[in-house]
Structures are given as C-alpha cells and as structure tokens.
C-alpha cells in the first residue's frame, strides 16, 4: 500500500508541476515520420486515412482514444498544409462532434478553413466491430489512401486493417496500448508506436498539462521500478534478499 501511496503522490505532484511548466519529451520515431507520410500522399495525390479503433469515451480505453484524437488534430493540420484529403473513419458516434471541432480547428490553424468538408472527411461507420471493419476495408479498396494512420484501442480488426492497407500499398503508422494487438501492427506496419508511446504522443501533441504531468509521474514510477530491480539483482548476486524482503512488507 505504501507503494500505491507513493505513486499517488508522484502522479498528482507531477500533474500540479506540469500546470506551471510542461515536461519535455523524448523523440518518438513514429511521430517524426508523419510529415513524410503526408508528404508522400501529396506527391501521389491520394488521401490519408486515419482511424482510432473501437472503445468508448466512457470506458477504460478512453485514454487511448483521446491519444488517437490528439494525433488526429496534428495530422489534420499537416494534411491541410500539404493540401491532402484526410479521411477519418469513426466507430463511436460520441466522437463525431469532438472530431469535427478538432479537424476544423486544425484546418483553420493551417489557414485552409475552406478546404474542410466535415461530411465527406469524417465517416461514421456504425458502432459494430465487424461492420466498421468491413467499411474501413471498403474505403481502402476504393479510395486507395497513400498513408494509413491507426492510433487508439484496436481489437481483432487490427490484422484486417493492416493487411488490407498493406496490400493496396499504403505506408502505415500504427499504435495501440492493447498488448494483444501490437504484434500484428509490428509485423505489417512501417512505423510503430509501442504501447504507452501513444499516450506520450497524445500528451506531447496536445500539450495538455494533466496528461503530460501524469506521464511524468508514471515515469518516476518506472525509475523506481528500475532502481529496485537493479539494486535487487545486485543484492541477490551478493546473496542478500534485502530488496525482495523490502517489497514483501
């Protein structure tokens, strides 16, 4: 329980600190690839496809969805700048209004407010897993996006998507914190955000103090874990169970 309290304090503390000054982030290779991906779509004169997977804003996977939406904002701005059409496939009806605002603002930031076509670019594809999955595959086959970006909570459809977009020659960036699905993305996609990297990406792009601070708090937790394991291994090698006993308490 002591550990839980310690983590609690770290997380809240960092969230408070982040309100004053945002923490800085390490480079995330997948994000650096985005301009290149959108640029390639511009050269080929083909659209960019974006989707955020399943889940609800009210469930435990909500943070993944939020991270995906943050990346959507960033990619929309890039797409607006390069004059590329971006298609966003939506599974959750509740996300529609949020996404519309987000993308409109991105287009305004890029100075291309007129180019935004909410009806044509944001596609609501029913709240049913496999209906959504087939519809996304349909978009892939018909509109042949040059790039496909998938960030959010993905389930069994991950393999269908990555395989279909691979077949039509899209360059792909994918990320999810749902461990069971990462391998499929790793096998097929060109760029990969592994697990929690998507949270970091979302926080980094949205510059949201709560999210950034929370990530820094978790990082402190990881450092504790790291130090405990490191010392623990050394202690075990030296024949002392000090760390193991410490954790039993």
């Amino acid at each position: 329980m002591g550990m839980l309290i310690a983590l609690w304090i770290f997380i809240i503390g960092c969230m408070e600190m982040a309100k004053k000054k945002l923490p800085s982030f390490r480079k995330l290779a997948g994000l650096d690839a985005l301009p290149e991906m959108v640029g390639r779509a511009a050269e080929m004169n083909r659209p960019v496809h974006f989707t955020t997977g399943l889940g609800e804003l009210t469930g435990t996977v909500a943070p993944q969805l939020v991270a995906g939406l943050a990346v959507l904002g960033y990619v929309s701005e890039l797409a607006a700048k390069y004059g590329v059409k971006i298609i966003y496939s939506v599974y959750q009806a509740q996300v529609m209004p949020i996404a519309t605002e987000l993308m409109r603002e991105a287009y305004i930031r890029a100075g291309k407010a007129d180019a935004f076509d909410a009806e044509g670019q944001i596609r609501y594809l029913s709240g049913e897993q496999f209906a959504y999955a087939t519809a996304v595959q349909g978009i892939a086959e018909r509109e042949r996006p040059a790039a496909n970006i998938m960030i959010g909570p993905f389930y069994a459809e991950s393999m269908m998507f990555s395989e279909t977009f691979f077949r039509i020659g899209s360059i792909q960036l994918a990320g999810t914190a749902r461990g069971y699905q990462i391998p499929f993305f790793a096998v097929v996609c060109d760029y990969l955000l592994i697990g929690e990297e998507i949270y970091a990406a979302g926080a980094y792009l949205s510059k949201d103090a709560v999210q950034c601070g929370s990530i820094q708090g978790q990082d402190l937790g990881k450092l504790i874990a790291w130090i405990l394991m490191f010392i623990g291994v050394l202690a075990t090698a030296a024949g002392s169970p000090i760390i193991i006993d410490l954790l039993k308490a």
């Binding site: 550990m3 435990t60 496999f130 087939t134 592994i194 990881k222 291994v233 075990t236």
Partner: protein
C-alpha cells in the same frame, strides 16, 4: 446416424452461416452482410437475456428474501438508461460513478501488487551468479531486457535517451520485436485451431446429412455470384451505392 429434426435444422443454419462468414475473406457480399447482421443482433439479444437473468439472480432474489435496500440498486440500474435522454442524461452519472469507482478500486488495489511489485520482486530474485553459465547468461539477458524495456518507456526525461544512451532503447526494441514475433506465431496457432473447429464441424456434422453434398456447390456458386460487383452482374441491378 439418427438425428432429430431440430438438430438437423440447427446444423444446417450453423453451416450456412459458417460458409457465409468465411466469404468475407474473399470479397464483401450480401450473404456475408446477412450473417454479420444476424451475429450483431444475436449478440445484443444474448446480452439482454443474461442481463435480465443476472438482475433477477443477484438483485431480485436477495430483495425478495428481505434485503430491501436492494431497491436502491434497481433504481440506480434503471436510471443508467437516462443517458439516452437529451436533457436528463446527467442523472446516469450517479450509477456510472458507482460502477467506475468499484472498477477502479478493484483494479488499482490489485494492479500495484500483481503487476508492479510482484514483477519487480520476481526480477530482483533472478540469479546471475552461482548458477550454471547458460542459466546465468539467460537470466542476465532477461534482466537486461526488462530493464531496457522499462527504460524505453520513460518519456519525459529526454536526456536519458540522448546520444549514446540511445542504444538502451535499441536493445529494448529488439527484445520487444522478439516477443512480438513469438506472439504472432502463437496467434496463427489460435486462429488455425478455430478454423479447424469450424471446418471439422462442416465436415463431420453437416456434410454427412442428406442433401448437404448437393447444397454445398449451390451455396458456393451463389456466393461467387454475389461477389461480382453489382454494376457488372445482370441481376439484381445496383439500386444502391455499395
């Protein structure tokens, strides 16, 4: 094999649905769409059935046996559905808050022990010395991968990943790629077992039934026809944008 009529019909329906669902691997078609909608409807109906059953078992039973305060939880349960009301949807936040609170409490209290402390403990207890060379090497590699992967997921201290230290994340990525390769192979096994299960059903339960051998080619031909794009087939003409 004597099978009653009910089972025969059951097997036929299940067999047709199986074939229709598999057709999506080739191309979208109307039979798949029919099977898919049946699936979604059945799943929703199934959850209602169990929802009602559970409410009766875990709520109504104790209530009728005297636990009168369970009336409150029925009320909470019903107002969950205010979320569909335009104005009073916020009322549903109260029962949701109870559910979310319990869920978070259960997950936090156990996660910290089972997935944080126990995992650190188990790593710290690994022996590198005093074991045979191969075990020592394996354990060392294990420890290195755990440490580098945890390090990899530290995002907010960029100095930890600057310059030469980038090698740590590199090692972590190699470790994770190995794990992903392993997971991928295991998934192939899972999915193939499922395919085997369905094919086994078709071949041992359905095909031996009278008429099935005749029906199979007809079903397949109809499917193939349904896969032809609507614009290209003589009938039915496309009345709808696909």
């Amino acid at each position: 094999m004597a099978v009653d009529l009910g089972s025969v019909i059951q097997i036929w329906i299940a067999a047709l649905f199986t074939i229709w669902i598999y057709s999506i691997a080739f191309r979208d078609n109307v039979f798949f769409k029919f099977a898919e909608h049946t699936f979604v409807g059945a799943a929703a109906g199934h959850s209602i059935v169990y929802g009602v059953d559970n409410v009766l078992r875990y709520g109504w039973d104790p209530f009728t046996k005297g636990a009168l305060f369970y009336a409150a939880v029925f009320l909470l349960g019903v107002i969950l559905y205010t979320r569909y009301h335009k104005k009073y949807f916020w009322v549903s936040r109260f029962p949701l808050a109870v559910m979310v609170g319990i869920g978070i409490g259960l997950s936090m209290r156990a996660t910290v022990t089972a997935e944080f402390i126990a995992q650190i403990q188990s790593t710290a207890a690994m022996k590198v010395l005093g074991v045979d060379a191969w075990t020592g090497f394996s354990n060392l590699l294990f420890i290195i991968i755990v440490l580098t992967v945890v390090y990899f997921f530290v995002f907010t201290f960029p100095a930890m990943h600057a310059g030469k230290r980038g090698i740590i994340s590199k090692i972590a990525r190699y470790g994770m790629m190995a794990a992903f390769g392993y997971s991928f192979a295991n998934t192939v096994l899972s999915r193939f077992n499922m395919i085997f299960g369905r094919l086994d059903f078709l071949m041992t339960s359905w095909l031996p039934l009278p008429g099935a051998m005749v029906a199979l080619p007809i079903v397949l031909i109809l499917l193939a026809y349904a896969m032809i794009p609507a614009q290209k087939r003589p009938w039915p003409k496309p009345s709808k944008p696909s």
